[in-house]
């Protein structure tokens, strides 16, 4: 060992070094910065929605641009909309939930089994709601625990839930359609408030709650941080696993709410409710500007994405075009939307 006291090559200097000026990286112009942000992306969606509305208004001037048709569109958007809000959180965090459609079906069935209906008629119809929500939360809890603590990729874990929840719904329903008997329940969903259906109000409330949760709470910050960089979030002390469980519980809860809504609309529970709804939800979320790899997304974008698809469907129906044409158009829209997103949403320019 050497006697040397200063480390190799270092010369002592008592003065603190002055700050070097590191030139700031290229700053984008204000407008471009705005347009490449979430505001710009949502603006594009609004333009797309207006275009579809214009097409609708021109092709069927008498039926499309009416208040009652607007309510039809919103009513149809409400159920997939609620599911999409939950899906938005899961996708922002970098996950995916394929099970929401069949969990919704299972929730509709469990809420209408004899036990639930008897209990509801003995007490209050909200017991059925409670059953449906509990099914959603339980399914989400299982998804979350398997994904977070079992280290199973979300795609596989929720695919398994998709299959088994559908099967369980068939078993519970014995492949029958379970009619809702409670007049209070049926009556509640037939009512409207300020001229707008209860179903639409539920969608509005869930979307508003989702917006607040994502943008104004620690839950939302954790969601974005985990989606943006999971490892950095973990090393910063965020309990990533626990939060992941909560995210899937939230998606499940939304599926449960959607289960209640479909019961309200159809007054019957069946295991076929919500088939392929997960794909509609994912499409709406992604078209709405949420990155499938996580880290970025908005509730407003998701709502616009849902409205775009439902308005388009409505325009097709008004013009008597069949559902196969609709499906092709949907596919085209998804691809075009993603292509446009990539064009406008390039990450901030870097140079060094």
């Amino acid at each position: 060992m050497s006697e040397q006291t200063t480390p190799g090559g270092a010369v002592a200097a008592p003065t603190p070094p002055p700050t070097p000026t590191e030139p700031t990286p290229a700053k984008e112009s204000g407008i471009r910065r705005l347009l490449s942000g979430s505001v710009g992306r949502n603006l594009g969606l609004v333009v797309a929605l207006l275009l579809i509305v214009a097409v609708g208004a021109i092709t069927s001037p008498d039926n499309f641009a009416t208040w009652s048709n607007t309510l039809v569109i919103l009513r149809q958007a409400s159920i997939v909309g609620v599911i999409s809000i939950g899906m938005t959180f899961v996708i922002i965090s970098g996950g995916i939930d394929l099970s929401v459609g069949s969990v919704m079906g299972l929730a509709s069935v469990v809420a209408t089994i004899d036990v639930a209906q008897d209990l509801a008629s003995a007490t209050h119809w909200t017991v059925m709601v409670l059953f449906a929500l509990l099914v959603g939360v339980a399914a989400g809890l299982i998804n979350g625990i398997v994904i977070a603590y079992g280290n199973v990729v979300a795609f596989m874990a929720t695919l398994a839930m998709l299959v088994s929840a559908r099967g369980l719904a068939e078993i519970v329903a014995e492949r029958r359609t379970l009619i809702v008997g409670d007049r209070g329940f049926v009556g509640f969903f037939r009512e409207d408030f300020l001229g707008v259906d209860v179903l639409i109000w539920i969608f509005i409330l869930v979307a508003a709650a989702g917006w607040i949760l994502l943008n104004r709470t620690t839950f939302g910050r954790r969601t974005v941080a985990i989606g943006g960089n999971r490892e950095a979030s973990r090393l910063a002390g965020i309990n990533v696993k626990r939060h992941t469980v909560w995210l899937y519980v939230l998606a499940g809860l939304c599926a449960g709410i959607a289960g209640v809504m479909i019961l309200g609309r159809t007054t019957a529970g069946t295991s076929t409710h919500g088939q392929l709804l997960e794909l509609d939800a994912i499409a709406a979320v992604v078209v709405g500007g949420t990155l499938l790899i996580g880290g970025r997304g908005t509730i407003v974008g998701t709502v616009l994405g849902v409205l775009i698809f439902q308005t388009l469907t409505n325009v097709f129906v008004q013009n008597n075009l069949d559902s196969s044409v609709q499906a092709v158009a949907k596919g085209v829209i998804i691809v075009v939307a993603v292509l446009l997103q990539q064009r406008f949403a390039k990450p901030a320019g870097r140079s060094s």
Binding site: V11, R216, T218
Partner: protein, 506 residues
């Protein structure tokens, strides 16, 4: 071996400018590369090095200026055009595909094929030859690249460059991910290339590397070349630093204050082990003390730090902060007890790059600012702004995405995060990796200040000089064992390396 004409230029660049969205990254760069030389490009972050090499690689088109290749003026329209001319580029983020074999990577984009079928054995044979030429004949062409070390991935990247008929290879900070042994290997490969007449443009922060490998130097500052083609042998280091920073710098390590004898032990690590990685690690750190872990890559130093932090679950031993034992494998327990980690890989482990500075600064504390689960972004911003001022973080805008900052400023975000949190123990893994010389001095001063404020600090660095310059006490680590614990003043770089070599041999 080719006879190399060292007098005529291979590549001449004159008055190159390039602007992005109105901001000029290059404001007039000259360059003159001769065949078979190692030409170093030196400059701080933001000086324009990356833009320059991307222009030569055909990624960016210059706004003005002239590129003369072997006496002819050329435009390099795209990356393929650069390769066709004979210019290959090795980026810092290596562009190899982990799932493919070495041979498949080498011939990626120009596969040897007949009628759509790849000629695998021929590709393997040619790859083997290239690997031999690079002094790595022991690597099998059929090995999957994902299983190679960073150093060997570089070799693959170089073999790919050589699989084209190239005359110039640009290396962007190739030594950043290597330890000292691997750097030596890299240098012998570079010498091999130059002997074959291939010119190497070598970009680095490390002045001592330029001394060892470089023939001539071009210095960039603020998008301009401040010196073109200086002979390495004739240029003193002080002059280089002056050209690079525009100021005189004598030394980077600030003087150490001795740790008070009665300073309490804050961090106590006892017999810590992680099965298969390290074992029997015992040390303690007093308030105000800096302990350094010195050792080679793979010695277990980063793993020790991460296990102390709870990011890995220890298999034996204990960690105590202020006398209280921490739960095994629990990051939140460590954070709550006042331990902060600045991880080795800043970008992949430290920052949420697309999020603004303030979100990154408060990533450990946003819950504390929140009221009833609702965020208080105003309080977060003002806390971030306070740290931005205290640490002289540039640019001083809390809403700027972290991704746009230089390495040094990104490091400051991580330090700011723990300053806002209020730590007792700071674990710093490679705090100056990818940070340029000027900003390094600042980070060093900051670390000293944090110690003086009563933090117990543990620092890991692959640069032994850095550990010795900062630490009060040094732990020499090799093969997952602590070989010795000595006051930093009683050991030098050779002493550490000596121990490590003997330890590794034993």
């Amino acid at each position: 071996m080719t006879k190399v004409d060292h007098t005529s230029s291979l590549l001449v660049v004159r008055g190159l400018t390039k602007a992005f969205a109105g901001v000029r990254a290059l404001k007039g760069v000259d360059l003159d590369i001769r065949p078979g030389e190692v030409h170093c490009i030196l400059g701080q972050n933001g000086a324009g090095k990356s833009t320059l090499i991307k222009t030569l690689a055909g990624v960016h088109r210059p706004d003005e200026g002239e590129i003369v290749w072997q006496g002819e003026t050329v435009t390099i329209a795209d990356p393929q055009a650069a390769i066709d001319l004979g210019i290959a580029t090795m980026y810092q983020e290596l562009d190899v595909v982990d799932g493919l074999t070495i041979a498949e990577n080498v011939f990626l984009g120009h596969e040897l094929a007949s009628g759509g079928f790849t000629r695998r054995s021929e590709a393997a044979k040619l790859t083997k030859e290239l690997l031999k030429r690079l002094g790595h004949g022991s690597l099998s062409p059929n090995t999957e690249v994902g299983r190679l070390s960073a150093a060997n991935k570089q070799i693959v990247s170089m073999a790919r460059a050589l699989s084209h008929d190239i005359k110039l290879i640009v290396m962007d900070e190739p030594s950043a991910v290597l330890d000292s042994e691997e750097v030596k290997n890299l240098f012998s490969v570079v010498r091999e290339l130059t002997r074959a007449g291939i010119a190497v443009v070598y970009i680095t922060h490390r002045l001592e590397e330029i001394r060892e490998i470089g023939d001539r130097i071009t210095v960039l500052k603020d998008g301009r070349s401040t010196a073109v083609g200086l002979e390495v042998a004739d240029t003193p280091t002080a002059e280089l630093i002056r050209l690079m920073t525009g100021r005189e710098v004598a030394n980077v390590f600030p003087p150490a204050e001795p740790v008070a004898d009665d300073a309490p032990v804050v961090l106590d690590v006892e017999g810590l082990a992680l099965e298969g990685v390290f074992s029997g690690v015992t040390f303690s750190v007093r308030a105000g003390e800096i302990v350094g872990l010195a050792g080679l890559v793979g010695s277990g130093r980063s793993e020790i730090l991460e296990t102390v932090y709870g990011a890995r679950k220890s298999t034996a031993g204990s960690v105590a902060v202020g006398g209280k034992r921490l739960g095994r494998g629990s990051v939140s327990a460590a954070v709550t007890a006042g331990v902060g980690l600045s991880p080795e890989e800043r970008k992949s482990q430290g920052l949420v790059l697309d999020e603004p500075i303030f979100v990154n600064v408060t990533l450990s504390t946003f819950g504390r600012f929140a009221k009833g689960g609702f965020l208080d972004t105003r309080a977060e911003r003002s806390a971030a702004r306070e740290q931005i001022e205290a640490l002289e973080l540039r640019p001083p805008d809390p809403d700027r995405p972290a991704v746009t900052l230089s390495g040094g400023n990104q490091q400051k975000i991580l330090l700011a995060r723990w300053l806002v949190h209020g730590t007792k123990v700071l674990l710093l893994d490679e705090p100056t990796r990818g940070v340029d010389v000027g900003a390094r001095a600042e980070i060093y001063a900051l670390i000293r200040r944090l110690a003086a404020a009563g933090n117990a600090i543990v620092i890991v660095s692959s640069e032994i000089e850095e550990v010795l310059g900062l630490a009060d006490t040094v732990l020499v680590v090799a093969d997952g064992k602590v070989l010795t614990t000595v006051p930093a003043a009683q050991i030098d770089e050779h002493g550490v390396l000596d121990l490590v070599m003997k330890g590794a041999a034993a």
